[in-house]
Symmetry: D2
Subunit: 330 residues, 4 copies
């Protein structure tokens, strides 16, 4: 297929920090370069190598913290797992790690959109206690999502979310949130029947994102409170295929896409790096008081939107290739 | 290590239907036979082959339903994915598929318990609207869980849950629920840093179970409403290691176990097979009314307990082997 | 596709010992049973479970040898690798392990033959110093191969090979040999470009067989002595595709099938179990004299024919599915 | 472990063309840069990113050839496999692809050498009809190998090989050869028992190298002519372990290393690119005459030495990690 750096850059730009007064102000250009796999604007079928240089690495920024494992960061667990750890900003556990996911997923997204008309749209559906439950998942678009810096397509909810974020910032604190995602026009038949069910791989993908603590598809945790007579999705004829009247299943039955919209939500905890003082201990168990310097992102969920979308694209792409190996005509 | 069929059978027996008036009454002995990999009661290091014969397969039981894709079952998606499907009881999408998981996981469990003292205990923490939030995850035991047929270790909640299940049964309906699980004494350092984070593989494992719709670890979806100053788990000295004062992280930081208890919850939807009449369509789109004959399990969560525990053991075992390949001395 | 136990049994029968006076006389029925994945004679798309019961296991047969690691067997390496080993007949290192390969590969073979007309034919091209270089790989058939018990389609060479085997047997000794294999009608495009080249996976498959010591494709080791002007295979038009005038490449270029016949050879060492006395040491280094009791197969290559063919089918099938995931229309 | 770019560069330099009058004269600096995974000269345990920029890419060099699939090159198969192909120099099928193998393998080599004293030494044992059979594999060193530009440690054979290469060059032709390799001090127990036997993975690794056509371990094809009474390697006490008196097995029994030297040979065909005119056809089947311009390497085997060594290191490293996951104390 045709592929240019611009195709990838658009999602990298949506992920980049420093886009608004709410986000961290590190200036990271995050320009992607295609190293291999593409010639004359067309993919060659061979692996595509991408490079995004890190222009703003300043180990000194983190110097003081490196002596103390930051609470709810990965400093302690990396140290114990590997017997060492990067001194600067968490190394592999840094949120910068998600750049690779976004860059690769942007390519998958383009393929899925062009070949199958698949649309993947994520949005912020909650920040702290503010929720936005009234989004129409059949029509919501990235343009609507990006209309407000918190990336919630409900303007009233978005304004309340922004206030929630700014209040957290004012308190030198951080706040969690929830990202919802819909996949439209996904062909029937994606997902492998046992361990690699579609929802299982989506759950893995979402829980592999830094700061995520929960995943639900379709009815999710609310479904645990329901009766089968309500929860079951009766079949109806929809054009030339069967569809379902309701969609408590979230587009998946038996681990396999059923042609309905795939709907899922991912919970993100509040960012661990906060300006407030925290009492903790150093590696030797000696009590210390930590307070992050500089400005830090008080809420990650707006920037998580392209990450959720592109990880979703990678999951769908993998399952599509697996299904195509079985039935070539997909 | 030493291994006998009895070691495996104990969890198969907990999974088996027909144990109570609440469950389906098919008589399945589900006796496991070790085919290979064990000699004179000791594992040989080579693959262990297990066989559980299906003694109660009656294709005829499902004959009528095979013409119509059952709502919220996998009939339709299997048919579309493979171009064919098993006529009897869902084939690979049958809940019987979990026998293999339980048998294999029972072996992993034994190893983890004997070598590391790891304890994995799951319990029913919700059925429908009845919740049991007051379980002490530091001490809860399988004996306490098994004391009541709904497998909730809080006797009052268990009684209310049983009533909820019986009410669903009386209404020829089914009801969902939530399973909580704790892993104690897990060594620090399990979990791979990017895609195979410990919580990501647990999420995959749980969402790969039939009927599961959600997963959360530690604070989970509630964490999305919290502020960082509350959610952060400060470090404290605990014996010869660092521990945390609170455990909103659920025993995992940066995708890697931190030595605290691993705590997670899995949501299960109500069983799709119900005795009530349901209006749906057949493969040709013609409207039909379906009603399951015979007695069916109105609530799967009690039987899901050993499945959740053994799948968890498989995830921990895999990650333990991966960490050991890195640092032999674990 | 349609699949019955007979489809699989035919290759299991060709593999089975006790077919001739040259082979070991253990009576093993090796009857395969399909446990899952097939219904009403058709595959369901889900995993196919097969069982071949071991009817003739007699641990006592090997009792004496179990105290001493047999020379050029896997007793010593298994003991060191796992810290234990099966007492009976080598366990997983037994030649019986190849039954699983043959059964699975027979299914792959059927698919490749029915869907693509792929023909895989192996034959014995050398036993000891007796070679059969004049086989026409464009036409050789399994019927020709099976016409003589040594499975060499050149009658004169076959007779000489049989004499070689009988001479080894008379000397209570064993003898090695070479198996050649041709794959005809393989579509262009199979093989992945770097580590999983077609010839690389064939080499892995062949060197994974017990007793194999070498692999060569096309010109093989003889190609190392040639000049490029001779070795290069010029392209010519063949029907509606390009073909090559010569086939020193063995049907593969750049790791990818080119539409010409795939031709390769596998060397097998003489069987390690011999009736002659051998001086060796036990696990404590104490000198002992070993001599195998009973009758043992003095030459494995005739029985290796179906194993080579079915392993080849598995490699081609894997690569076909991988290529189909890329380009559905193969 | 400690790791610097120099540790990697040493093998990249041995691989680099333009080192002698025999090799191609393209100037490629091939300087490696470590992008990630190393800090303050120590590995962090996380993935190590390496970059070797391609400074000398000149698509124009290959322009003329791109219209015609070069005989015994991958042009035709890539075109058919992917529906497109790189215009310049073969793209992923270029010999430059081996840079990544060498760079990664140099790291594995360093680890194996420092932690286990493993020594991996490859040398040219044949060029065309000139062989060097008398190399002492117990003592041969890289210094001896590099003493002559053909990388054969037998001075007389090396001189004859050089003459063979120069004769091929004078004839605008190319010539094949054989690389032998020994691995000393490999711990007992590496290799997985069925498909991933040590010799199987080595065979895959070697046959995945461009231009390779054959692999043999220990007795190899000569073993097919031998009797078991000669071929069997009797055990003897060697220090505190069992060893074998002979080593026809090539250091592997049952797919698992036995502590003896691992010995194998890889055959390379003559380079396909030659200055002589070759009659072939273009993609449309029209006859054309091709002759490569400029100077091309008439024999790849001297440059294949570091590639064989580093690929071998990758195989051993993988199997070591797998064995360590099983028994931590290796």
């Amino acid at each position: 297929m045709s592929l240019s750096e611009e195709d990838i850059q658009v999602q990298l730009d949506r992920r980049r920090p420093g886009q608004s007064k709410m986000a961290t102000e590190r200036k990271e250009a995050d320009q992607v370069t295609i190293l291999s796999g593409v010639e004359f604007g067309k993919t060659l079928g061979t692996p595509i190598g991408l490079l995004v240089a890190n222009k703003d690495q300043r180990p000194g920024d983190y110097g003081e913290m490196s002596k103390v494992p930051r609470p709810s960061h990965a400093d302690y667990t990396y140290q114990q797992k590997y017997g060492t750890r990067a001194s600067s900003g968490g190394g592999r556990s840094s949120a910068r790690e998600s750049i690779g996911r976004v860059a690769a997923g942007a390519i998958a997204e383009k393929y899925l959109r062009e070949q199958f008309g698949i649309e993947i749209v994520a949005w912020v559906s909650a920040v702290g206690h503010v929720e936005a439950p009234k989004i129409d998942s059949d029509t919501v678009s990235r343009e609507q999502v990006d209309a407000h810096i918190v990336r919630c397509p409900d303007p009233a909810a978005a304004a309340a979310m922004e206030a929630e974020v700014l209040a957290a910032r004012a308190a030198k604190d951080s706040i969690g949130g929830v990202v919802s995602c819909v996949c439209r026009n996904v062909p029937v038949g994606l997902g492998e029947p046992v361990f690699d069910k579609l929802e299982a791989l989506l759950a893995q993908a979402m829980l592999s994102l830094p700061a995520s603590k929960g995943f639900e598809i379709g009815s999710g945790f609310a479904g645990a409170q329901m009766r089968g007579s309500v929860h079951n999705d009766p079949f109806v004829q929809k054009g030339d295929r069967l569809g379902t009247l309701t969609n408590y299943s979230g587009g998946v039955q038996g681990g396999i896409s059923n042609g309905e919209a795939i709907l899922f939500r991912t919970a993100f905890k509040p960012v661990a790096t906060i300006g407030q003082e925290q009492t903790t201990v150093d590696m030797d168990g000696k009590e210390v008081v930590l307070a992050a310097k500089g400005r830090h992102d008080p809420c990650v969920v707006p920037r998580a939107i392209p990450i959720v979308e592109t990880m979703t694209a990678l999951v769908l792409m993998d399952l599509l290739l697996r299904q195509r190996s079985r039935r070539g005509n997909i």
